[in-house]
């Protein structure tokens, strides 16, 4: 009350006069004590002066008639919105084994008792329940705490909008504050701040769990080729299990595909776990990442994360252009020929303007050598340039190669040889712009040709990158690299572009052996080694060793990973609640991957029951080539989305994706009470924050803090019992000190 009120003085003329006279008496008292010494010491006179002057000052204060001016709401003239969180996190029993929702039942379930009664004495109550949505409720005792999301901002906004026409004293939010909406709260609070409506928050639950393990969000690509080895980083945090061993498992729809034990660090310290697994089965696969629950965990639902990955059993085409017969060709092709998801087409130059082709789809593919049109080149997802000099290509072909990466989104890999990189005359060309390494235009001097035999070792990035994992574990992979036979380099490269990442280096010389960078819509790689086939044929390599094959398979899969087609489905959300509509976006381009805004695009959606929904997709007008449709959802399960695009009756392409319709699992993550958030909501709107234990003063505090219909009151302070007791204390202290010191 004192915090909200303002102190003022209401003395009349007589009061001021009397106060003046008392002040004069205080001055006389001080002078007297200074002059009349008797058997007292100076400290005695000082102490007695303080007591006497203090009493006189308090008397002056009372004579000035101080009052506390406070605004209070008029009882029963105002409304109060009570927002009750009904999400699943309210079921957590972290308050002496009692569920958070129990507070709601006790305080608001019975109209005649608890906080509800106290508030109802002063306000007209309007109850709302909220989780993902907000709705008015009347029977608080029948609330079910089963909401799968918590949207605090939306709830506040909805309640305020509904009550904005009424004299509103404020909103009371009863929640653990575990908001998991994607949007921030700031905008939702603005209307309340503008209209001066305070929010009072009652936080439920504990700020920390005694014992709990939580798994962080998992980031994985949404689609991969069948058989791809994926690397995932999982972050495990915990309370109460320091030093204990926890087991992390990866499941592919019930089948365990990865297991790792970790030692949990200190409480609250995140532990990063890197694991690898293979996407072996085709189709929409729901991978589960789980920390096996330990005894005593408060919440076990947050030990599990899931990721939906579309595993595609399709062939991605790579064009491998070689300028001369080389052993690297033979062993590279052999290394990937068993990979049914890669088709590496070789265009081999044997003599000037003479070629032969391997793995072509028909006689019409590459009949005249390297493609001369973008449409022909952009049919491939990856491009490998071997020992082929830059001046073989026309200027337009060099630009095409650059556009292949930049615009089409393809993957480019340049191999080492005396006709590659600077030695091949690529410095200063559009291809040099794309490459992740710096090329020196002065390096093409044949007389200063470079040659070095080196061993290869991974950098820190290379130790964990999926393209350079040549063994089951990171440690084994690093050891394997160090055991491989030496290879030779004729392209000394030491500098990379600012945005590039080096995965492999050489020992000695510290040369770049493998580097990559994202460029435009695609990626480019540099591998300036001319004879990696030594990892297959060197005398030190066992005949049945598969390191060489593993390296090339993983590298080429990564080259084409994420390379788009002419029609690509993009899903803003790959998981929605049952009954919630979802948005399908599609990017459409022609054979040159130029965006088309006038294409005919259709989305065909098949629900889990086999029912088909067709929707024409409209150009969004926000981005060239982007089309949108909104699809309703119903029952839980996987919804198959097939998008077909055509123009003038000619099919441009199609794409396939999936959406998972299922209840959200976000309620149990970071589900401790968010004190900071609740405090922020209250302070931003001029309200107050409470816990369950301190909420008893809520009703009275709102009376003086709230908005709506209010009345200004003045309350005298001079007749407060505290004033009387203070005055009496001062007088008694003076008397007692005299007695103690034996003074008159």
């Amino acid at each position: 009350m004192f915090e909200q009120g303002e102190v003022a003085l209401r003395a009349a003329g007589l009061g001021y006069l009397l106060s003046f006279m008392v002040a004069i008496a205080a001055v006389i008292t001080v002078r007297t004590y200074r002059q009349v010494r008797g058997n007292s010491k100076s400290v005695d006179r000082l102490v007695l002066s303080v007591f006497r002057v203090g009493a006189l000052a308090l008397l002056v204060f009372c004579l000035l008639r101080p009052v506390l001016i406070i605004s209070s709401v008029v009882p029963q003239e105002n409304f109060l919105g009570v927002l009750i969180d009904t999400s699943k996190s309210m079921q957590i029993s972290d308050t002496d084994g009692v569920a958070r929702s129990e507070f709601v039942s006790q305080q608001f379930g019975d109209p005649e008792s608890g906080l509800r009664a106290a508030l109802a004495d002063r306000f007209a109550l309007r109850f709302f329940s909220f989780s993902g949505d907000t709705s008015r409720v009347s029977a608080v005792d029948e609330l079910l705490f089963d909401g799968t999301q918590t949207h605090l901002g939306g709830a506040i906004r909805s309640a305020h909008e509904e009550l904005s026409d009424l004299p509103l004293s404020g909103l009371v939010v009863v929640s653990d504050g575990a908001d998991n909406a994607s949007e921030g709260l700031g905008e939702s609070l603005l209307p309340l701040q503008a209209s001066g409506v305070p929010i009072f928050t009652v936080g439920l639950g504990g700020e920390k769990f005694e014992q709990d393990i939580q798994l962080s969000r998992v980031d994985l690509p949404r689609r991969v080729l069948k058989g791809t080895s994926l690397s995932v980083e999982l972050v495990v945090t915990h309370q109460g299990y320091r030093g204990e061993i926890a087991t992390v498992q990866i499941e592919d729809e019930g089948r365990i595909v990865g297991t790792q034990d970790i030692e949990l660090p200190a409480d609250g310290v995140p532990e990063t776990v890197r694991m690898r697994f293979t996407a072996a089965e085709e189709g929409p696969r729901l991978f589960s990442f789980r920390v096996i629950p330990k005894i005593g965990e408060m919440v076990v639902e947050n030990n599990l994360r899931q990721a939906l990955i579309l595993v595609e059993d399709r062939r991605k085409k790579i064009l491998y252009f070689e300028g001369e017969p080389r052993w690297e060709v033979k062993f590279l092709l052999r290394g990937v020929e068993d990979d049914t998801n890669l088709q590496t087409t070789l265009l081999q130059r044997t003599a000037e303007n003479k070629f032969f082709r391997v793995n072509v789809d028909g006689p019409d593919e590459l009949p005249g050598g390297f493609p001369t049109t973008r449409a022909d080149l952009f049919k491939y997802s990856g491009l490998i340039l071997g020992s082929i000099e830059a001046n073989y290509f026309t200027p337009d072909q060099l630009r095409m190669i650059s556009d292949f990466v930049n615009h089409r989104g393809g993957g480019l890999l340049m191999l080492g040889s005396h006709r590659s990189f600077s030695e091949g005359g690529y410095a200063g060309t559009p291809v040099a712009d794309v490459l992740p390494v710096e090329l020196d235009p002065n390096e093409s001097d044949v007389e200063d040709s470079f040659f070095s035999e080196v061993r290869v070792e991974p950098t820190r990035a290379g130790e964990t990158h999926p393209a350079t994992q040549i063994a089951e574990s990171e440690q084994d992979s690093t050891q394997r690299w160090s055991a491989l036979p030496p290879v030779t380099v004729v392209n000394p490269i030491r500098d990379v572009k600012p945005g590039a990442t080096v995965l492999l280096t050489s020992e000695p010389d510290d040369l770049v052996v493998l580097a990559f960078q994202r460029y435009g819509a695609g990626k480019s790689l540099a591998f300036p080694v001319q004879d990696s086939w030594m990892w297959q044929m060197h005398a030190d390599m066992p005949v049945d060793d598969l390191t060489h094959e593993t390296f090339w398979r993983k590298l080429l899969r990564w080259v084409v990973d994420g390379v788009p087609d002419q029609v690509v489905i993009n899903l803003p959300q790959d998981r929605v609640e049952p009954g919630q509509a979802f948005t399908v976006l599609a990017d459409v381009g022609d054979a040159n991957f130029e965006e088309l805004n006038n294409s005919s695009v259709v989305a065909v959606v098949t629900d889990p029951a086999g029912n088909i929904i067709e929707r024409n997709m409209e150009w969004t007008a926000e981005k060239d080539g982007e089309y949108r449709a909104t699809i309703p959802s119903g029952e839980e399960g996987f919804y198959e989305i097939r998008v077909e695009a055509s123009i003038d009756g000619e099919l441009l392409g199609e794409d396939l994706s999936y959406v998972q319709v299922s209840p959200s699992d976000s309620e149990f993550y970071d589900s401790t009470m968010r004190t900071a958030l609740l405090d922020r909501i209250a302070s931003a709107t001029g309200g107050l924050s409470y816990t369950a234990d301190s909420s008893q003063s809520l009703a009275e505090d709102i009376q003086y803090v709230g908005a709506g219909v209010t009345v200004v009151e003045e309350q005298d302070l001079w007749d407060m019992p505290a004033v009387f007791f203070l005055l009496l204390t001062l007088v008694l202290l003076e008397w007692g000190y005299r007695r103690f010191r034996g003074l008159a």
Partner: protein, 266 residues
């Protein structure tokens, strides 16, 4: 799959060689060198020079049966002359010098193309058999040449069964890609040794018909090409001789070029 088989004229190159436009060094034999001494120096694996070439025409050194030094028939002239032709015909970084390596030398795997001839007299040691087996299974490519008739075939088959007991020997059809890698081969010619040519025939012993047979690995890849009842090596060795028919020389060089290009891309 389809191959484009277009290339510069082998005949033109060979004519240039025949007319002496391109100088060919005489062989050690012509120089009357001590063969045994030469053999001793040549049984060591050839040291790779600085800045190695991409391709080495590697001749396999093996233990002979009743005839000493069978491996070195036509050596090194045939090797050198053939490589001259190869370097002239296709764009390849190929060493012009000969390169003889023992079959039991672990470093043989650094040379994924291997040429072995006169296998009718081959008597592999256990180490040589293992060395050759490892070489082939790791990815090496073997060309067999210059052995004639049923008796020599029997010996070869016995030897190769010790190397690859679980692989079959089959005829390579003419529509196989190896016969179209650079040059289109429509017919197998019987290339005679120069001595047989002087005698007015192309055959030897009871080897009247030429065959191109092969051994494929478990993935169906050709890893051994067996030229039986023909002598490509002699054609390489003597193509500068005016009396040796260019028809055979051209064919032998075409076959050899195809072998190399196919081996380096499959």
């Amino acid at each position: 799959m389809r191959r484009v088989a277009v290339g510069p004229s082998v005949l033109v190159i060979l004519v240039l060689l025949v007319t002496g436009f391109v100088v060919v060094r005489p062989s050690a034999q012509d120089q009357g060198a001590d063969l045994r001494a030469l053999l001793e120096t040549r049984t060591e694996s050839r040291k790779v020079s600085d800045g190695p070439s991409e391709f080495y025409f590697t001749r396999g050194v093996y233990t002979s049966g009743w005839r000493w030094g069978s491996w070195r028939i036509d050596f090194p002239k045939a090797d050198r002359q053939f490589m001259l032709a190869v370097n002239s015909l296709i764009d390849i970084s190929a060493a012009e010098e000969e390169n003889a390596v023992r079959l039991d030398d672990p470093r043989i795997r650094q040379f994924p193309f291997l040429y072995v001839l006169e296998v009718g007299d081959m008597a592999l040691s256990a180490k040589e058999a293992k060395g050759l087996r490892d070489y082939l299974l790791a990815g090496g490519f073997l060309v067999i040449d210059d052995f004639w008739g049923s008796w020599e075939w029997a010996n070869f088959e016995r030897q190769i069964r010790r190397v690859l007991p679980d692989h079959r020997i089959v005829d390579i059809p003419l529509n196989h890609p190896i016969f179209n890698a650079v040059y289109r081969i429509d017919e197998l010619l019987q290339v005679p040794a120069i001595g047989n040519h002087y005698r007015g025939r192309t055959w030897e012993q009871d080897g009247y018909r030429p065959h191109a047979r092969g051994i494929f690995d478990k993935q169906g890849r050709l890893m051994v090409v067996i030229n039986w009842n023909t002598d490509l090596g002699d054609a390489w060795e003597w193509f500068e001789r005016p009396e040796y028919p260019l028809e055979f020389s051209s064919f032998a060089v075409q076959m050899g070029v195809n072998f190399i290009v196919y081996a380096m891309s499959h």
